[in-house]
């Protein structure tokens, strides 16, 4: 029983980070109607950025997180301005192909520059943990979860309590009506993409204390964030949180009780089942709210 509880806790802690990554994806989809196939690879790039900043300065990954987040906010804006905005009026197919091209580019430029090897950082508190009842809570995972939770709250405040956030939500509800109300939708697109990429980057760096970095790391995490977003309903942020926690727990349980090499399998099956029977997601298909 305590083993079961342990798995649930581990799953929830990891799920918190998945929520951040998926929130980024869902903002981009909600506001821009773009399915970003490169989300996982932006995350991978951020992990490399975090890794090298840590290597050269020795800063704690949770401090480099702020730096990487800012960096990737502007990197996201740059990519949106230079590439995404050129096809944004086109069909989904173009969005998919373009972001796919960006994803493959990132993945392979990193392989070419830094090699395919696994890299990792060592932090002094890596194996520190707290015992509550029979359940161990790992210190870095807990910190990452708290960072994720704070971030989600901040996002919530931004979207519901600020003028800019409200404008963004209006834009995601109905772009043309929002434009008629004087909202600059181009500005909304750029900001949404910047924030979306920043969230992927934060998720990536928050994983670093207990995760390895390698060029393909974004493939699985990107696919996972899609699954989260579909589970929660595309465009819905509360949905993304629920979906992420669920995916974290399912992954943790199926890795233990089925087989570690099949831990992805359970999630893929659930993904396909949800797509089939409840494609609007478990919380319904609201837009960002």
């Amino acid at each position: 029983m305590s083993e079961f509880m342990q798995l649930i806790v581990n799953g929830l802690l990891l799920g918190g980070i998945y929520a951040v990554i998926a929130a980024g994806l869902t903002i981009i989809f909600g506001v821009m109607n773009v399915v970003n196939f490169a989300q996982g690879d932006f995350l991978m790039l951020a992990m490399y950025a975090g890794f090298f900043i840590h290597q050269f300065t020795g800063l704690d990954p949770y401090i480099t997180l702020i730096l990487v987040a800012l960096l990737f906010f502007f990197f996201g804006i740059f990519i949106e301005k230079s590439l995404i905005s050129k096809v944004i009026e086109g069909e989904h197919e173009k969005h998919i192909l373009l972001t796919l091209g960006i994803a493959v580019f990132f993945r392979n430029i990193v392989t070419v520059l830094f090699g395919p090897e696994y890299k990792g950082i060592t932090v002094p508190y890596r194996f520190k943990s707290y015992e509550i009842g029979n359940v161990f809570i790992s210190h870095p995972r807990l910190i990452s979860f708290i960072v994720a939770a704070i971030l989600m709250v901040l996002l919530w405040i931004f979207l519901t309590r600020t003028e800019f956030g409200r404008a963004m939500r209006a834009s995601s509800e109905n772009r043309h009506a929002a434009e008629l109300m004087g909202i600059n939708s181009k500005l909304m697109f750029v900001t949404a993409f910047g924030i979306g990429i920043m969230f992927a980057a934060i998720g990536g760096v928050a994983l670093m204390p207990f995760y390895y970095v390698f060029p393909e790391v974004g493939v699985y995490l990107g696919l996972l964030s899609f699954i989260v977003v579909v589970l929660g309903g595309l465009g819905s942020i509360p949905g993304a949180v629920v979906g992420a926690l669920l995916v974290g727990v399912i992954e943790s349980l199926s890795g233990e009780y089925i087989d570690l090499s099949l831990s992805h399998f359970g999630i893929f099956i659930i993904f396909i089942l949800v797509l089939l029977f409840k494609p609007q997601g478990i919380l319904g298909g609201e837009k960002i709210s």
């Binding site: 096809v87 989904h92 090499s261």
Partner: protein, 324 residues
């Protein structure tokens, strides 16, 4: 629309004759490259059926490539079945799997379909690694070395492979052309342009899309079998990877979707680039061919989404801009 009889098409006949004579003129490494062009061309024609003609963007075509490749190897290694029959087993098997998967994934539209096919490829790869007994796990399978064996299709010279591939290529081109000129092709065009409108005029969406998905799977499986025979060695990472799906997609996209020569032309442009980057820089770093591919992909999406066939030659391929 313009109906055409492929056997009366002069370009096609010239291509047929020239294609048959290729091994008389080129030898060695150049012939190997020609075989690779044919191999990836076939796979791209397969993808083009569902994602070009059908307009359903598939990122899981590697799954059927892998089924074809593993069918040949497992049939020979575990049951001693000749490789030529292994190809047919692979095609049949792919058709059955495509029917089953299609019933699920073809209900979905747009990005959901794409995501689901991506997941299908990943699921198959996980299974191939998991069931080590048959598939050799992550290490993969290889044919034991034999000199000149018709049973396992092993030869020390390359032209038998060339002719095997050429026959498959002709089958793929004819299939693609026949689809384009049939009422089935028109139904696919209708679905591609507006699937709700297509349904409202009485086109059975699931039936039409399933057919296209199955045909695509069969052709892709054929190319996978050919890969296994030609390369002698397969592993899940290479034949069922995400990279392979992207490569197939890119070849058809660069050449021009829904055209008679597009996928082959795409392969003829991209495969030599891969070979060159591998030959000159392959020892420095892996990942370089895919890097080049990604740049081409971004470029094509931004500036040339109709493909090269449609840009350079109006004569070579009749433009197929929505002809309904």
């Amino acid at each position: 629309m313009i109906r055409e009889n492929i056997l009366k098409d002069r370009t096609f006949l010239i291509f047929l004759i020239l294609g048959l004579m290729v091994p008389f003129f080129i030898k060695g490494y150049a012939l190997k490259v020609a075989i690779m062009i044919i191999l990836w061309g076939i796979a791209a024609y397969g993808w083009d059926v569902i994602s070009g003609h059908g307009g359903q963007l598939s990122l899981g075509q590697a799954a059927f490539f892998a089924i074809g490749a593993y069918s040949v190897n497992i049939a020979y290694l575990s049951f001693g079945i000749p490789s030529l029959i292994g190809i047919i087993i692979g095609i049949v098997f792919s058709a059955i799997i495509a029917l089953a998967i299609g019933l699920v994934v073809l209900r979905l539209r747009g990005p959901y379909f794409t995501l689901c096919t991506l997941a299908v490829g990943e699921i198959l790869r996980t299974l191939l690694i998991y069931f080590k007994g048959f598939t050799g796990g992550a290490v993969g399978l290889s044919f034991p070395y034999q000199e000149h064996s018709f049973i396992s299709m092993q030869y020390t010279y390359d032209y038998p492979y060339y002719y095997l591939g050429f026959v498959m290529l002709i089958i793929a081109i004819i299939t693609s052309t026949v689809i384009k000129n049939s009422s089935f092709g028109l139904k696919l065009a209708a679905i591609r342009n507006d699937c709700d409108a297509a349904e409202s005029v009485g086109i059975n969406l699931m039936m039409t899309k399933s057919k296209a998905f199955i045909i695509a799977a069969m052709i892709t499986s054929m190319s996978g079998s050919f890969y296994a025979i030609f390369m002698n060695y397969i592993d899940p990472g290479t034949v069922c990877g995400f990279g392979l799906s992207v490569q197939i997609l890119l070849i058809a996209l660069v050449g021009g979707r829904r055209t008679k020569w597009g996928p082959l032309l795409g392969a003829a442009i991209l495969i030599p680039i891969t070979e060159l980057t591998n030959a000159y820089f392959g020892h420095i770093r892996s990942g370089l061919p895919m890097l080049v591919y990604s740049i081409i992909l971004i470029f094509v999406v931004l500036y040339a989404s109709e493909g090269i066939v449609n840009i350079f030659s109006k004569r070579f391929a009749k433009p197929i801009k929505e002809e309904i």
